[in-house]
Symmetry: C2
Subunit: 326 residues, 2 copies
C-alpha cells in the first residue's frame, strides 16, 4: 500500500505508525463490532493525505516537533478520508475499494452508515487532542463541510449530461481537493511556517488534489480492473460523469445521447461503448491536459516554499502523482 512512498524513508515509518494508531483507536469491547472495526482499519489505501501532511511538516527547522502529535494529526486526515469513502461506497453500491470488499458490501448498508459515523467520532476525538484551541479546529469543520457539500452536489448532478467542466471542477474542489488542501496547510502549520507559507501550502494541496481527482477519473477510462483494483467505468454506470466524458460529450452530444439517456438502465456493453467513444473523441487527452495544468500550478507554487530537503521531496511526490497508473 505504501508503494508510492518507498523513496521517502522518513515518511514510511510514520505512516506505519498512523496505521497502528488508527487500529488502536478503533477498539470495542463488543466482539461483533470489533470485527467491523478491524475491517475499517484494514484499508489498503495509498495514504496520500497523511503522507503529504508529514512532508509539509518537515519544512523548516522543526526543533520542537512532537512526533506523537504529528502521527495523530496525520491520522485525522486518513480517518476522515476513510469515513467518507465508507459512506461513498454506500451511495455507489461499490463492491470493491483498493482491491478489498467494501464495508457496505461485506456488512450491509446499515452497518456501513454507523461505521462511517464512528470514524467521524474518532477523527473528532484526535482533533480535540491535537488542535483544541487552534484556528485549525474551525478549518477542519469547514473543510469537512465543503467535502460533504461536494459529495451532495455530485450526487445531485448524477446523469446530468449537460454539466460543464466548471461544475465538475467545483465539485472536485469540495469532495477531493479540500482534504489535500487541509493536509498541506496543517503540515505547514505544524512546521511553524508563516501564515503566507501556510496559504501557499494550502494552494499547493488544492492543486495537487484537483489534479489527483482528474487523473483518478481518467484511469476509469484507460485502466483495467486488475490494475485499478475496482471495477472500471464504475462512475459512468452510476451516473457520475467526469471530465473525460464531459469533454467528449460537449463536442459530440448526439453520439452519446442514445446511450446515456437510459441512465441507470445502461448495460455493461453500452458502458463499454461510451468508454470507447470518450477515448475516440479525445476526452482522455483533454482531461490529461487539464490535470497537468493543475500539477504545473502546484509545482510553480512549490518553488515558493522554503528551500529545504522537504521542499524537494514535495516536488518529487507531486511529479510522481502526475504519472501514476494505479
Amino acid at each position: 500500500m505504501l508503494e508510492i512512498w518507498k523513496h521517502y524513508p522518513t515518511v514510511v515509518p510514520k505512516l506505519q505508525a498512523v496505521t497502528q494508531l488508527i487500529s488502536e483507536r478503533l477498539q470495542s469491547d463488543n466482539t461483533d463490532i470489533q470485527e467491523l472495526l478491524n475491517a475499517c482499519a484494514n484499508d489498503q489505501g495509498k495514504m496520500l493525505r497523511p503522507g503529504l501532511f508529514l512532508l509539509f511538516a518537515e519544512l523548516g527547522e522543526h526543533p520542537s516537533q512532537d512526533n506523537e502529535q504529528l502521527i495523530k494529526v496525520a491520522a485525522t486526515l486518513e480517518i476522515l478520508h476513510k469515513a467518507t469513502l465508507i459512506h461513498d461506497d454506500i451511495i455507489d453500491d461499490s463492491p470493491l475499494r483498493h482491491g478489498e470488499i467494501t464495508i457496505q458490501s461485506k456488512y450491509g448498508k446499515d452497518v456501513a452508515v454507523y461505521a462511517g459515523d464512528l470514524l467521524f467520532t474518532v477523527f473528532f476525538e484526535l482533533l480535540s487532542e491535537t488542535m483544541n484551541g487552534t484556528s485549525l479546529m474551525h478549518y477542519n469543520a469547514t473543510a469537512m463541510q465543503k467535502l460533504l457539500i461536494g459529495e451532495l452536489s455530485q450526487m445531485h448532478a448524477r446523469y446530468f449530461r449537460a454539466q460543464t467542466i466548471t461544475d465538475y471542477l467545483h465539485n472536485v474542489k469540495g469532495k477531493t481537493a479540500e482534504l489535500f488542501k487541509l493536509a498541506c496547510l496543517e503540515g505547514a502549520y505544524f512546521s511553524k511556517q508563516s501564515p503566507e507559507i501556510q496559504e501557499i501550502a494550502a494552494q499547493i494541496g488544492e492543486n495537487i488534489g484537483i489534479a489527483f481527482q482528474i487523473f483518478d477519473d481518467i484511469l476509469d477510462y484507460t485502466s483495467t480492473s486488475g490494475t485499478l483494483k475496482k471495477p472500471v467505468l464504475e462512475d459512468l454506470a452510476e451516473g457520475v460523469y467526469t471530465s473525460p466524458l464531459l469533454f467528449s460529450y460537449a463536442e459530440h452530444p448526439q453520439d452519446f445521447d442514445n446511450l446515456l439517456q437510459k441512465e441507470r438502465q445502461v448495460t455493461a456493453v453500452e458502458v463499454k461503448k461510451v468508454g470507447q467513444l470518450v477515448r475516440k473523441y479525445g476526452g482522455v487527452q483533454k482531461a490529461t491536459q487539464l490535470a497537468h495544468n493543475y500539477t504545473k500550478r502546484a509545482l510553480l507554487l512549490i518553488t515558493e516554499l522554503p528551500a529545504s530537503p522537504a521542499q524537494k521531496q514535495i516536488k518529487k511526490i507531486t511529479e510522481i502523482m502526475s504519472k501514476r497508473s494505479f
Copy 2:
C-alpha cells in the same frame, strides 16, 4: 412542537432562536440541495436537549453570559441529535418521525447518509465557534463516540431475545442518555458552576436520559400511532427489543418464542399479539417502575444544585417528562 416548554417563558424564545440558527446554518447555493436542507431543519421535535441545556445555563448568577453563544451551544445538541435520527431512520426504514415523513423516506437512503453527515459538520462548526480550547471539545467527541457505539451495539443485539435489562440499559446509556448528560453538563459549565456541580449536572442528565428512553420504549406498547406520530411497535418489528418486552420475556420465554423466532418475517398480527402478551405479563408496569427509579435519582440529585429559580424549573421539567404520553 414546543408544547412541553409552554410554562418556561425564558426558554421558549431561546429555543425559537435555536431553530432559526439551525435554518441559517443549513444553506446551500445549490437549490436542489436547499430543499433537502430545509427538510432537515424543519423537524418538529420536542427540543428536550437544548431546552435542558438552557435551563442548566440559568443556574447561578451568570452576569457575563453571552446569549448568542448559548443559542449556538444549544443548537449543537439539537443538530447532533437530528443527525443521528436521520441515520437511525435509514437503519430502521422509518417512514415517519414526529409526524413528518423522514428524510430517508422522502429523498432515499443515499441522500439521507450525506444529509446526516452534513449535519455532523454543522455540529462541529458550531462547536469550534463556541468551545474551541475548552475541555468540552473532548467531551463532545467522547459523547458522540459513545452515542454511536450505543447505536451499533443495539443494532448487533437485534432479534436477540435473551439480552438482559443490563445489556439494554448499557445501550440506552450510550445511544440516548449520553446526549442528555452532555446537555446538562454544558449548561452547568456555561453558567460557571464548580466542577462538582458540573458533575452532578452530568449525572442528572444521564438519569433523565435513561428514564426518557424507557418511557419512550413504553409508549411503543401503550400508545396509538396517532398520539405517537409514528407507527407503534415499530421497534419490535425491527428486532429492537426494549425493556417492556425484555421483562415479560424473561418470565415467559416460551410464550414469545414462537412469535419472535420468525425475526423479520413476523407479521403485523403477530407483532400486535406480542404487544398484548407484553402488557398481560406486566412488562409495561415493570418498565415504568424502572423508569421512575431513574427519575427519582435525577430528582434527588437536583436537590444538590444551587437553590435558584432554575433549580425549581429543572425539577419541574423532570417531573413533566416522567408523566408524558407523547
